[in-house]
Symmetry: C2
Subunit: 409 residues, 2 copies
């Protein structure tokens, strides 16, 4: 049960000129389940991506990086669930490549023009034969209107679809943005989430794509955590088909560049937050803002220490204002010269801690009132500088243990 995450609004999932999606049931791990997706891109489309920093990165992530670096120009994305193809050694690379070759053959393009993505269980051999066997059905299904089907077909332990869109005027021309993502556990992206795809028909210089996708990831997927586990397969891809008829964007700092970036970031943040809202077992959506740091990096460090603390997360689950646990996490976040007498803590509008000690005016029932809500924002004031950062996370419930103790059973 995702926290305050309504079903996607199909009207807002705008077709992107130059992009078609097709899905099928390839029986990769289970039957009767959409598990294979192809996303077809017209020639001239620009693609840029950011990928997991996990040193055990999966075979498809390794291939994606190579294929993007080749400069061949991506023409198709090939996404499977049910198997992550990670921890699979040379055989895993060969199997991922075989699926790219098969799809390239059917489309009359080169294998380097196919970007593969996998998600699911780690350290099991990819059933590449089943993927290849499913390609015809997926291709036959391809349509610009199938973003919702794509969002469904990339889900694993997700309980709900994650898809958002936006439109923005650039030089008076309507530009569309649509994105889908999946992810629920093993979520502490270090570049990007499990899988996120964001497409636009904006006309933007291909030279700007890598910087743009990195900035978008920094402001969205790199600000969330469910369980602190960085996946082997995190991938976030930005696709621009350049088919909108405005003047090309040559700088992200221009008026048009800023407008596009804000619109893209809005969708990316909604997708990233949707992953937290659908975090495994989540019952609360928690925003942790750290202010008054010397650097943004130390603010983020403190925010993640709080967001990863099992004690803080279980207290939120229990709606128990056992807020000393937050102070403990601030204290062990790794800022060696932190002065506890400079710390203030707010839970929503409730001033809990003043200069490192309990606020004399703080009443437990005020903390209790905030803790019972399903959307909780806290502010930690470090009193050391002017930097700030924000992280989004969820609580730790019995359901998290059940899901992860039973995932493969």
């Amino acid at each position: 049960m995702a926290v305050n995450l309504p079903a996607p609004n199909p009207i807002e999932l705008y077709p992107i000129a130059g992009v078609r999606l097709g899905v099928t049931e390839a029986g990769i791990k289970k039957t009767d389940r959409k598990d294979l997706t192809v996303i077809l891109l017209e020639p001239g489309t620009s693609v840029a991506g950011v990928f997991t920093q996990n040193r055990f990165c999966a075979a498809p992530v390794q291939l994606c990086r190579e294929h993007l670096a080749s400069g061949a120009g991506a023409r198709a994305l090939l996404i499977n669930t049910g198997n992550a193809n990670a921890g699979t050694g040379p055989d895993g690379l060969a199997r991922a490549l075989a699926t790219c070759v098969a799809l390239a053959h059917k489309l009359g393009i080169s294998a380097q023009q196919v970007l593969p993505f996998s998600t699911g269980v780690i350290m099991e051999s990819l059933p590449s034969e089943r993927i290849v066997a499913g390609l015809d059905a997926a291709l036959a299904d391809a349509s610009a209107d199938h973003w919702l089907r794509g969002a469904e077909a990339i889900m694993t332990t997700d309980t709900t679809l994650k898809a958002f869109g936006a439109q923005v005027l650039i030089d008076g021309v309507l530009v569309s943005i649509t994105g889908i993502a999946k992810g629920s556990g093993m979520i502490h992206p270090n570049m990007a989430t499990m899988l996120g795809f964001l497409a636009t028909d904006a006309c933007i210089s291909p030279m700007l794509m890598q910087q743009l996708v990195a900035e978008l990831a920094e402001g969205s997927f790199n600000r969330i955590t469910v369980d602190g586990d960085t996946s082997t397969n995190d991938s976030f891809l930005l696709v621009a088909t350049h088919q909108a008829c405005h003047a090309p964007i040559e700088s992200l700092d221009s008026v048009a560049g800023q407008a596009l970036k804000v619109a893209l970031l809005g969708v990316a943040q909604k997708l990233a937050q949707a992953i937290v809202r659908d975090g495994e077992g989540a019952t609360k959506f928690i925003t942790i803002k750290v202010e008054g740091g010397k650097t943004q990096a130390e603010c983020r460090q403190v925010a993640y220490a709080i967001a990863h603390s099992p004690l803080v997360k279980t207290a939120f689950f229990a709606s128990d204002p056992n807020l000393g646990r937050i102070l403990a996490a601030v204290g062990y976040a790794g800022i060696s010269d932190l002065d506890q007498t400079g710390i203030d803590l707010y839970l929503a509008d409730v001033h809990v801690v003043v200069q490192g000690g309990r606020n004399p005016a703080y009443r437990e029932e005020d903390g209790q009132r905030v803790m019972q809500q399903s959307e909780i924002a806290m502010r930690v004031l470090l009193g050391r500088g002017a930097a700030t950062d924000t992280v989004w996370t969820c609580d730790l419930s019995h359901e998290y243990v059940s899901i992860n103790a039973d995932y493969r059973s």
Copy 2:
């Protein structure tokens, strides 16, 4: 229910000449519960300690550091449960000091000769009046035979007592060692555990005490984790009364120094492992050995990444050999130049991963057999060097969530 942790053997809890313990029920948080302990030390006793690195360290930790640094010579330890006196600001320091002053007055010593220790809930005011009111009863109870009572009186969420002893011959003289500890949650010591006290009648140069206690902590309490939360109150104290009649130990590298250190470390490791065995909700005791690292530090870094992963911990709880989760944790442990094709993984004697991929000879039922045991040892081979390190941890169960969601209720 602690994992394979039998009740302490009273015969092995040797009286230490020069040390007496007294406990009472002071009603600090609950009634009908031993919650106040005094440990009285004869003049001439040496004491050295290591304390939490948490920047939100508790008021008693701050006072302990000051009193030890004063050189006054510790004559009494004063320990309460039911309240951590952390996150309490200047009022917390004043209250901790007031309890030291009261005990010092009764004993005819200075307040600096009293070391205070607190454990319990954070950010609530210490009921120092109740502690002071309980001192007479605790002092009346003081006896060299009360180690077991002391182990009981320092417990909080612990389900079992943690007390071990050992004897060792030094220059033909029998030297005794007895230690007690408490801790079950908020366990990821960064210098020492919640509370650990180790006493010996060995005659050792006071100059060696600080080095010795630091080395003991490094080899025991600093190698464990339950939930990755470093407490605000971690304290580990080594007490030497010098009353055994062997020639004074002037070097830890001497034969006698080595013998004493090995015996002390043995007790310290049993205490540290007892904390993991009694980790909140623990059903498995897990030893993580990382070999083949460039440095011991990177081995420990990898071991802790595995030990802190909620996904790994829930898989152990479920006895599910979903061992790819271990590879993912190795991959995100932060070794930026780690080569996944150099990694091997053993679960007990089962060779699971060869050169970063699944061992073709690995059968899931072999992994399953190991996972079902309550004592599990894994070895991760990094293939980068000759360094090694070991960390002890437990699994993550429903019971952990229940305990921490209900702790204050």
